[in-house]
């Protein structure tokens, strides 16, 4: 009872309060309306400011575009038709019987007619033109334009190989409205917003229809959006389907239309709209979608292709043409039929277009994102000079040295070798991994990087981040140190066993691979056969710090501890560091930074930073010449002699095998005249391999090199070098006509003087290095 009373009393009280407050409310109403209006105006003004600021300022964060090197074309270029095909496929050229428009190519066995697209480079533009190329073997013998006039030099457009995306992973390729084919605009308007050119931003009819549908369904299912509203939604608002958002959308759409023309709005729409997803990368805008689905620029797409893209807007994942081709096809044909109904296209065109195949390219054939390991190197080099934000939003253009032809060959060679080794060795090498770096030895440009056997996998980059023991790849540094300190190629070395007692009480007892001692051996022989005992002894005599100094002058830029095991390659280095080291050897003692990037420009093509050819001579050319001799001997008769099973004799090659302790790593580093490559094979869990550097990494290296058009490595003898005939048995000075003599280079004043009896009794001993061929090289 008591409770009831209380309730009654409180009800009364409430009524009185309500009555009072309603009187107050009546008085407040005009004020409230005024405040509401004021706030609305303020809100609108704010919205207006917001809309305009975004629309006119930087509309999109445009990721940096990363390009491969452009293919230079000229008469005399070593390029096979097959190589050209790799490049043109990467560019999305259409192989046709008659090339009539940009992006098309005609190929025969000895000729190619390419209708190029043209490209605006920072140092000038390459026009779109029809090129005629004649081939003989793996060489371009003639380059002409379509009027038969010889062209000295031209370059194809560079392949876009990647981007540097912001955190939301939005990728887009901006296009201007005039670049968008009319059919695309027509198809888009026909299917998404028929009254686009007539409505003020919103379509009353569309909204009423949508509201009706919503009421019927009892919940919010349709928006009745115009293109303008869709743009607002994507551009300024979140993706939630709420009424509040919808209510905000309407004034914003009206405001947008108030300030901007239909053309401006349509252009923004074309670039903003979401059209697909590749992993974490979101595909935005029709410019990028054209590349993503058809691997061609939007201007080259056909009517049915454009109709498909326009159809995709409704639901890029539901209609994904790669996963649900039947849905995408039905949707495309719906777009086409709308175009026909609205009399944009005639009946024959409609029928033909709706009969055609989707012709979406396989995701695997897209080159954008195909080279994650190379891109990784590019990003690291870029981050030294640029902020992350500039890279993912300013639309920078990054021109790299990536050579898609070399990269493709290297990938094939590495994967093929790994698969064949797995087949041969079975379980023991399950999950075998590998990495590779290819450079141009004279310029230091990085042409290809492979970070693992899954070449497209954006994961652990073994070419840059593994630091595995380098085994005998270190030996050239030991021998260089010796050659700089008065040793010569025929110096006798002791290859007998020894034991080294260290401070720690441990004893180091190196062994040769064949567990044999080879007694007294000549210096060149010990290196080309990769003997451990003689190398370790030599290194200890020279001093570890001196060997480390040599490694650093070869370009190894890190702290190295002076442990004796260093001499046999216990130090871990990455394939990239090895490439730097061997690059110095290949380029006659000039150390060069390995460069992945040529140039960075802003979005308008203005150069921001260049990465010029740089070098510094850190090792004397004469000493390097002696080492180069041994590394050639290694390839001819030493541990890498299997090279010449598949590479012609005429191609001079220098290189070194490497196998780490317990056979955990298989390495090869070597170079011809125009290519340097480092290969590594091993297991991620660091288990022993059933093969060595010779029988593993060298195979991948040779497989790759044999597919390249190689020039021989030319070891020009610098001044101060003389060649002598040396008896191979004793290392004494011999003569040309004494059996078992070999011509070998020596630094003048440091050559052996003692002669064999044969040489003493006979004549000529010095030979001048023949420069005849060398002069012919330049004529």
């Amino acid at each position: 009872m008591a409770t009831k009373k209380v309730t009654k009393t409180s009800r009364k009280a409430k009524k009185t309060t309500e009555a009072k407050s309603s009187n107050k409310t009546l008085g407040l109403l005009p004020k409230l309306i005024f405040i509401f209006l004021f706030l609305s105006v303020l809100g609108l003004a704010y919205l207006d400011f917001h809309i305009r600021a975004q629309f006119e300022g930087k509309r999109w964060a445009v990721p940096a575009k990363v390009y491969a090197r452009p293919l230079e074309l000229y008469s005399g270029l070593d390029l096979s038709i097959d190589d050209l095909k790799i490049e043109l496929r990467g560019l999305g050229y259409k192989f046709v019987n008659k090339a009539i428009s940009p992006g098309q190519v005609e190929l025969s066995r000895t000729r190619a007619i390419i209708h190029t697209r043209g490209f605006q480079f920072s140092d000038g533009s390459e026009p779109t033109q029809k090129l005629m190329l004649s081939f003989s073997g793996s060489k371009i013998t003639k380059l002409e334009n379509y009027h038969g006039q010889a062209i000295a030099l031209t370059r194809l457009e560079p392949i876009l190989v990647g981007g540097i995306y912001p955190l939301n992973n939005e990728d887009r390729d901006l296009i201007r409205l005039e670049e968008a084919p009319d059919e695309l605009k027509q198809a888009l308007i026909a299917i998404e917003d028929k009254s686009f050119y007539r409505h003020p931003g919103i379509s009353i009819r569309g909204i009423s229809r949508a509201m009706l549908a919503n009421i019927k369904a009892g919940r919010f299912i349709q928006g009745g959006s115009t293109l303008t509203q869709q743009l607002i939604k994507n551009f300024y608002l979140t993706a939630d389907r709420t009424l509040a958002r919808k209510l905000l959308e309407i004034p914003m759409a009206l405001l947008l239309e108030l300030h901007y023309s239909k053309e401006e709005i349509l252009e923004a729409y074309l670039n903003e709209v979401y059209l697909g997803q590749e992993g974490s990368r979101a595909i935005h805008g029709f410019g990028l979608a054209a590349q993503y689905y058809f691997a061609r620029p939007i201007s080259e797409l056909t009517l049915p292709q454009l109709a498909m893209l326009a159809g995709l807007v409704k639901g890029p994942s539901y209609l994904n043409p790669r996963q649900h081709p039947e849905r995408a096809l039905a949707r495309r044909n719906l777009v086409l039929s709308e175009l026909y109904k609205q009399e944009v296209i005639d009946k024959p065109t409609y029928l033909e277009a709706s009969q055609s195949k989707l012709a979406v390219v396989k995701q695997a054939s897209l080159l954008k994102g195909a080279y994650p390991a190379y891109l990784d190197l590019v990003k690291r080099q870029l981050r030294e000079d640029y902020d992350e934000k500039d890279l993912n939003s300013e639309g920078l253009r990054v021109f790299t040295n990536l050579n898609p032809i070399s990269q493709s060959k290297a990938e094939k060679a590495l994967v093929k070798t790994i698969e064949s080794l797995e087949k041969h060795y079975g379980e023991k090498v399950g999950g075998l991994q590998g990495s590779m770096i290819v450079t141009e030895p004279q310029t230091g440009e990085v042409l290809a990087v492979i970070g693992g056997r899954e070449t497209r996998y954006q994961g652990f980059n073994r070419a840059l981040d593994t630091e595995r023991p380098i085994g005998s790849l270190v030996k050239p540094a030991v021998y260089l140190t010796a050659l700089e300190n008065g040793y010569h190629l025929a110096s006798p070395l002791d290859d007998s066993p020894f034991e080294l007692l260290m401070e720690s009480g441990l004893a180091w007892q190196p062994e040769n691979f064949d567990h044999q001692s080879h007694g007294n051996v000549q210096l060149h022989y010990a290196l080309s056969r990769s003997y451990n005992l003689s190398t370790a002894r030599l290194g200890m005599v020279l001093g570890l710090t001196n060997v480390i100094d040599t490694l650093q002058r070869l370009g190894v830029n890190k702290h190295i501890d002076p442990y004796p095991s260093l001499l046999l390659g216990a130090q871990g280095l990455s394939p990239l560091e090895i490439a730097t080291m061997y690059q110095t050897i290949a380029s006659n003692g000039f150390q060069m930074p390995l460069r992945a990037i040529r140039l960075v420009t802003d979005s308008s093509g203005q150069a921001l930073s260049r990465y010029p050819f740089q070098l510094e001579q850190t090792i004397d050319g004469k000493t390097i010449h002696l080492l180069q001799y041994i590394l050639q001997e290694t390839a001819r008769v030493g541990t890498a002699r299997s090279i010449y099973y598949s590479i012609p004799d005429s191609i001079n090659i220098a290189g070194k095998t490497g196998t780490s302790d317990q056979q955990r790593d298989s390495w090869f580093a070597g170079f011809a005249g125009n290519r340097l490559a480092v290969t590594w094979l091993g297991l991620d869990d660091n288990q022993s391999l059933p093969f060595t550097g010779s029988s593993g990494a060298l195979r991948a290296w040779t497989e790759y090199m044999s597919k390249e058009v190689l020039t021989p490595f030319i070891a020009a003898a610098p001044e101060g070098i003389d060649y002598l005939w040396i008896d191979q048995q004793t290392g004494l000075v011999s003569a040309e006509n004494c059996i078992g003599a070999q011509p070998m280079p020596f630094i003048i004043g440091q050559a052996p003087t003692e002669k064999t009896d044969c040489a003493r009794n006979n004549v000529q001993e010095f030979i001048k290095p023949s420069l005849d061929w060398f002069n012919r090289w330049f004529r």
Binding site: N520, A735, N737, W773
Partner: protein
């Protein structure tokens, strides 16, 4: 050949060789030639123990007159190199670089020269002009090294060598390295 090495925790009993071995290694007497500058072993406490030295007996080679008896393992003069003349592409680029240089646009000249370098990485003219462009940009150190790279690829060509060494002399003079300039000039004069 790959290496394989292992650690042992106890020293092996070849004591009498250890002294010989140590002396041998330190003095480099028996198995190594004279070292111009004797480096000091980095870790003096390391003791090397000799194991089984073997005497080697080798016969003296036989002389065979008239015919060549030895095929060089490492070819000195590759036989299959085709005559490489400056291609039209390189000539066009060198001309363009020349023009840029004359207009004082060294940056653009360098770009063009690097394009030429990619096509003909062994063309001395590319390095000569590239060195000049770095000189004009007052990057003397790089200019000198680019010119030295040029020297390394014109071995045996007297006129070219003289030209490159004169350039190096000039670069050093501009850089204020009178001593180096004088030396380079002397080298140039030898050709």
């Amino acid at each position: 050949m790959p290496n394989s090495f292992s650690f042992y925790t106890t020293a092996k009993p070849f004591q009498r060789w250890s002294v010989v071995g140590l002396i041998c290694v330190i003095s480099a007497c028996s198995t190594t030639p004279q070292i111009t500058q004797m480096p000091t072993p980095s870790s003096p406490t390391i003791v090397i123990t000799e194991k089984s030295p073997e005497p080697v007996v080798r016969p003296d080679p036989v002389y065979i007159p008239s015919e060549p008896v030895n095929k060089a393992i490492v070819p000195q003069s590759p036989t299959s190199i085709t005559q490489e003349q400056q291609s039209d592409a390189v000539i066009a680029l060198l001309d363009a670089a020349e023009q840029s240089q004359q207009q004082g646009d060294y940056q653009s000249a360098q770009n063009t020269l690097q394009r030429a370098q990619r096509i003909a990485p062994r063309d001395p003219e590319v390095y000569y002009k590239l060195a000049e462009s770095h000189r004009d940009l007052e990057d003397y150190k790089l200019a000198e090294h680019v010119a030295l790279k040029g020297v390394s690829i014109v071995q045996g060509q007297q006129q070219q060598l003289r030209r490159f060494w004169l350039l190096i002399a000039q670069i050093n003079m501009l850089a204020g390295n009178d001593e180096a300039a004088k030396k380079a000039q002397q080298t140039a004069d030898r050709y």
